[in-house]
Symmetry: C2
Subunit: 73 residues, 2 copies
DNA sequence: GTGTGACTTTGAGTCCGTC
DNA sequence: TGACGGACTCAAAGTCACA
């Protein structure tokens, strides 16, 4: 049963960001996204659009599709 | 050399939709998205957000991540 | 059955800040 | 280092008529 896609995405993003040893601030800065917005995305409160998904994926050095995969629990 | 993520997503969506034998009209209706909006997405003119990506993926019966993979061209 | 332009409303995304 | 809020701006979302 698929839960909230936004929460799922946020969790996955946190996991990938930490695995690269980045802070929210650094990831936000390097991908050109507002820090407070990124915080909201990671908490599943924001409905991020495709271009920003790609920006984050690029910064993390992974394909965008892998950002949409389900987080490990 | 496919670089525009929106165009890439649109192409991929068209391919998947046709492979399921659906019209834009039917896909739009079943996923609860406006047809003219869907048309814009398929042509890479709309920056679709995560929740709508999931709606389309659900209707197509595929994981959202597979919608973000690159189209075969 | 699809492309497109014009339009309105809602929320995506920014920037300031505090805890 | 990250959660969270207020106050903004502009684009995503959605609708329509017509090609």
């Amino acid at each position: 049963m698929q839960q909230d896609p936004l929460k799922s995405f946020g969790l996955r993003l946190v996991q990938l960001r930490k695995s690269k040893g980045l802070s929210q601030e650094k990831l936000a800065l390097e991908s050109g996204i507002a820090r407070s917005y990124l915080s909201g995305v990671e908490r599943g409160q924001r409905n991020i659009a495709l271009l920003n998904i790609h920006k984050l994926a690029d910064t993390l050095g992974i394909p965008a599709s892998s950002l949409l995969e389900l987080p490990d629990d």
